[in-house]
Symmetry: C2
């Protein structure tokens, strides 16, 4: 990786990085016909593979899916689960109606689907940093997914994470062994445009929280620690 | 976020993004005295807060920690857990010796510690995409952590994720309520340099896997699907 290596980033480079972060979206529509070239897909997967992992265990696999029959089976799992979700909302007819209007997946319309899985046995049983917090390996897989997501964005490719799916269905459809846990089912494809805010924010499903409401100082629910006074006063201009 | 919004990235911008990804490290040493400015910390937290989240539930909190007493308590939890890990290796004296030589945390030497937590009740109980896969909210928190990690890297700040910690200790020390799950304990600080490869690779603890060995086509353990022939032939030059 020496050709990519860098110690310091300029102000302009920082700006570009944040542009990627802030313009990344969870995409379920606007996919176009354009194919993802192999060399671009490899770049995206390489970014995922360079995520941090607990004890350097690299516990991920990527199942790349183009096959129509497989995708239709996955889509059926989605439809079943969506119906269950719909029924859960039966006491709130307004929300139920809104839920049905949301476009929640692009399984068939996207160019490629990727199932990202977790292998607890990889380099085990002793994995540094995973003996006390057993789920830490799963967290690593999620870091890889976020790298993949951002790399896709920089390449102009939209990614949608479909979690209205049944893992038992996924196991059957993709022949996953017992010890392999599916973590994400992603739909990737070029899009005609990226929205300037998340779909669920745009449709008034939920609002973005103020950053300051997610932060505590020194301990849970503490907001008054003196170490952090200057930090807090900056918040009003920056959040 | 409109000022940060962007539809397409140039080749140069792509290159810069990948430089961030490939030069990010899990840092446990080389921390220097330099303080992280408030405005930089806010930028990093904002990047985390703009991660994707299941059903836009934004289920994360960030507890910012400078206090020495708290950090010393956390460090003690680390020391206890490290000893347990050490004992687990008693049948492999070579590995045990190597394990002791590894620097695995920078709790006291880093400028700031951040505990990132998960709140299952945020915007619940009905969260889109979390009714079938209940852990999906935890996955969102990990995506936020990866954004934070990359943003730190671009700012020249090293991050180390310490998972040799006992979550019951964390709960007690940080006053976490029952419904709040600690996901990550991170140590952030400027470093004198970023290594060109992960510590655990450098010290020959484990090797980086070949990307191609993490990839399957259409189903688990399948490598021969005809859709993917051209993709596979590219691998030898790109991985």
């Amino acid at each position: 990786m020496t050709d990519h290596f860098c110690q310091e980033f300029s102000e302009l480079e920082k700006e570009i990085f944040y542009k990627v972060v802030f313009s990344r979206r969870d995409v379920r529509k606007n996919f176009i016909e354009k194919k993802i070239e192999d060399k671009i897909l490899i770049k995206i997967l390489k970014a995922a593979h360079h995520a941090p992992s607990v004890g350097f265990s690299q516990p991920w696999n990527f199942i790349l899916i183009k096959d129509e029959i497989i995708r239709k089976d996955i889509k059926n799992s989605f439809l079943n689960e969506r119906l269950k979700d719909f029924n859960l909302l039966e006491n709130d007819k307004v929300k139920q109606k809104k839920y049905l209007e949301l476009k929640l997946e692009g399984i068939l319309e996207s160019d490629i689907n990727i199932c990202v899985t977790y292998d607890h046995n990889r380099f085990g049983p002793f994995v540094i940093g995973r003996m006390t917090i057993e789920e830490a390996g799963i967290y690593s897989v999620c870091c890889a997914i976020q790298n993949l997501w951002l790399a896709s964005r920089v390449e102009g490719i939209g990614v949608g994470w479909v979690s209205i799916l049944n893992n038992s269905d996924l196991r059957k459809i993709l022949n996953l062994p017992e010890n392999i846990k599916p973590i994400a089912y992603l739909c990737l494809g070029f899009v005609d445009e990226f929205n300037d805010s998340p779909d669920l924010e745009k449709s008034n499903w939920l609002k973005r929280l103020d950053l300051k409401d997610t932060i505590f100082f020194e301990k849970w629910n503490e907001n008054t620690n003196i170490h952090w006074d200057s930090f807090k006063s900056l918040f009003q201009y920056n959040c």
